[in-house]
């Protein structure tokens, strides 16, 4: 079962402000189903920029992006939102939970947006995800009552709610201490091994990267090793 879930084809990106600079130079790579891949490279080499393009949030680039074999080039804003909702789970360095809602509701929101299941069913699934991450007893708390590590785990649960094709992470352990980083890494590993989840995680922690299945190394907007 080695099907491609994501393919970057000659992706090139420029920033025009303040000067014209090319941040991504002809990026080509595949991501296969159930792969746990890390992206490393020095700060400023274009990792985040690439990830925003791969997650369909940034549409200002050249080249093409195929997700599940479908080109993202011609899609409209609402269609891309649907792709993100259904197929991509995103974990940021900062957790981005909504303090107006409970932890449970935060996890449920993308599921409610997708609308495939009833609200009760989505709630049940949200509890399951929180259980995988070991924080189901925090479900009814507000995000601001949780520790940094717990918040990041809630964010991962939220990324999982719609059983996405790919989980993308932009330095998800960047803000965490050693112990919590370890917990988060173990969770990713478990997702990959037990649930065969496809993962694409940007990190500058080489130790973290060394333990993933494949490393993509970037330098100056180019992939130098994969």
């Amino acid at each position: 079962m080695n099907t491609t879930v994501l393919e970057a084809v000659h992706i090139t990106k420029y920033f025009h402000d303040p000067l014209d600079i090319q941040v991504l130079k002809d990026i080509n790579f595949y991501l296969n189903r159930s792969e746990f891949v890390s992206v490393i490279g020095k700060s400023g080499c274009g990792k985040s920029t690439l990830l925003y393009i791969l997650s369909t949030m940034d549409t200002d680039y050249e080249g093409d992006l195929l997700i599940d074999g479908v080109s993202m080039r011609q899609k409209k804003e609402a269609e891309l939102a649907r792709v993100r909702n259904e197929k991509i789970g995103f974990v940021f360095q900062f957790h981005y939970l909504l303090n107006e809602f409970t932890v449970l509701r935060n996890v449920m929101l993308p599921g409610l947006k997708l609308g495939l299941h009833s609200e009760a069913e989505i709630e049940h699934r949200a509890y399951e995800k929180l259980k995988i991450l070991g924080i189901e007893q925090e479900a009814l708390k507000r995000p601001n009552q949780l520790s940094g590590g717990q918040k990041q785990r809630v964010a991962i649960a939220r990324a999982l709610i719609n059983d996405p094709l790919i989980i993308m992470g932009d330095e998800p352990t960047g803000n965490l201490d050693k112990k919590n980083s370890e917990i988060v890494f173990e969770i990713f590993k478990e997702l990959a091994e037990v649930y065969h989840q496809t993962l694409l995680i940007v990190t500058h922690d080489n130790e973290f990267a060394a333990r993933t299945q494949r490393i993509i190394e970037m330098e100056d907007g180019k992939i130098i090793r994969q």
Binding site: M57, R82, E86, Y96, E100, K113, E119
Partner: protein, 420 residues
């Protein structure tokens, strides 16, 4: 449905998280709608009161004769001068009587008209009231008291005495209050009047008449048709005015024209006779609307501010909603829903308070000699005001929410997330 619930739920949470500011914005809407309703109801009440004075108390169409020069001069009827211009100087009015010719037949014809509620014939004549050696100018209106009261609320003007005495007491008169005061004539006294022909007659005062307009009350007085005809030495078919009340007042101008041609008399419709009152009502209504809408626009800016503040504070939340699959349209709907719920909630309270304030105004005593039947300030509980207020509150809040919501929907999550 589930999507609507989701958007509404998110809106509500954002709104409750900032409930104090939201409440202030909603109070702004409530205040403006309250004032809008109260103002319009009060102005509406005042307008219909003033209109009522005119509409209920004057003829919708009045038929009469006026002493005018002939419309067609004899030279124009001669064949010899066809296609010629005639310059005629010093035309004098034709010698004609003020009587409506064939009044019995005219009255019978109008009575049969299904568009007519009723008619009241009248004989008007100028007189002098004799007070000792002094003569005061006056006008005696010979009326049918029953018809006059039924159609034009005559009894409301008769502040002292019973209007039916005009019919029941022979040779009786109801004097204008100001005229009576001048003549020192009490009810029960007998006064002398002289007509322009020099006829003289004694009339018994049976009441006072008060319209509230001093100039009118100094001159006008009322007697029965028969008494007036006797005063003038005319037969009982002598009628100078026919007052017609219509079912639909809006038909008055057209029907005046029709009757004028049909019966060959002058016909005046109420709209032409009282054009200035309509203008007054219109201006008052216009001012009320302008003030009300200004208040609403100010409230709209309140909503605009709170939304802009919310969007500024919730940039991160908007970014993450978009990153997890909410489209720009969804975000737009969330903020429009916030604006509309402020508008609907504030507006609904405004309708309730507006009704309350109108009811309070309705309780304030308001006594004026001109309007003996009015005891409190007039209020018009017109449902249209409430409908208009609802529509306007929703429209203004929608527009107040439109630009902030559009701004929110265009937030680029990449810029927000990268900024961290």
């Amino acid at each position: 449905m589930i999507k609507f619930k989701l958007i509404a739920g998110i809106s509500l949470s954002l709104l409750l998280a900032r409930w104090k500011q939201t409440l202030v914005a909603a109070i702004g809407v409530t205040f403006s709608i309250t004032m809008f309703i109260a103002l319009l109801s009060f102005m509406g009440g005042l307008n219909s009161l003033l209109d009522g004075l005119i509409v209920n108390r004057t003829a919708h169409v009045r038929l009469y004769n006026e002493i005018l020069p002939s419309r067609q001069q004899p030279v124009e009827q001669s064949d010899d001068f066809k296609n010629k211009y005639a310059f005629i100087h010093s035309i004098k009015p034709r010698n004609e009587r003020l009587e409506i010719r064939n009044s019995g037949a005219v009255i019978a014809a109008i009575r049969k008209d299904p568009r007519v509620v009723g008619i009241a014939p009248k004989v008007t004549t100028q007189v002098f009231y004799n007070v000792g050696s002094i003569e005061l100018m006056g006008v005696v209106n010979g009326i049918d008291p029953e018809a006059e009261n039924r159609l034009f609320a005559f009894s409301e003007y008769v502040t002292t005495g019973n209007f039916m005495d005009l019919k029941n007491v022979p040779n009786s008169i109801i004097l204008g209050k100001a005229a009576a005061e001048k003549m020192l004539a009490n009810v029960g006294d007998v006064i002398q009047v002289t007509t322009s022909n020099g006829e003289r007659m004694s009339l018994k005062v049976v009441g006072y008449y008060q319209s509230g307009l001093q100039e009118v009350d100094k001159v006008q007085s009322y007697a029965s048709i028969a008494t007036t005809q006797k005063l003038l030495g005319e037969t009982n078919s002598y009628i100078t005015d026919i007052q017609v009340k219509l079912k639909d007042i809006l038909q008055a101008p057209a029907m005046a024209k029709e009757y004028g041609q049909l019966f060959d008399v002058e016909a005046m419709d109420i709209q032409t006779a009282n054009a200035q009152f309509e203008t007054g009502s219109f201006i008052r209504t216009l001012i009320s609307y302008a003030v009300g809408i200004t208040l609403l626009i100010v409230a709209g800016f309140g909503i605009y501010n709170i939304l802009n503040m919310m969007i500024y504070e919730k940039m991160d939340s908007i970014a993450i909603l978009k990153a997890t699959g909410f489209s720009g349209k969804d975000v737009n709907h969330i903020f429009i829903a916030i604006a509309l719920s402020i508008g609907v909630f504030g507006g609904f309270l405004g309708l309730v308070f507006g009704f309350g304030l109108s009811a309070a105004i309705d309780q304030i005593p308001f006594n004026t000699p001109a309007l003996p039947t009015i005891k409190t300030y007039p209020v018009d509980y017109n449902p249209n005001f409430y409908i208009i207020a609802t529509v306007f509150s929703i429209l203004t809040t929608y527009f107040a929410g439109y630009f902030p919501s559009r701004k929110a929907s265009r937030i680029d999550p990449v810029i927000i997330i990268r900024g961290k």
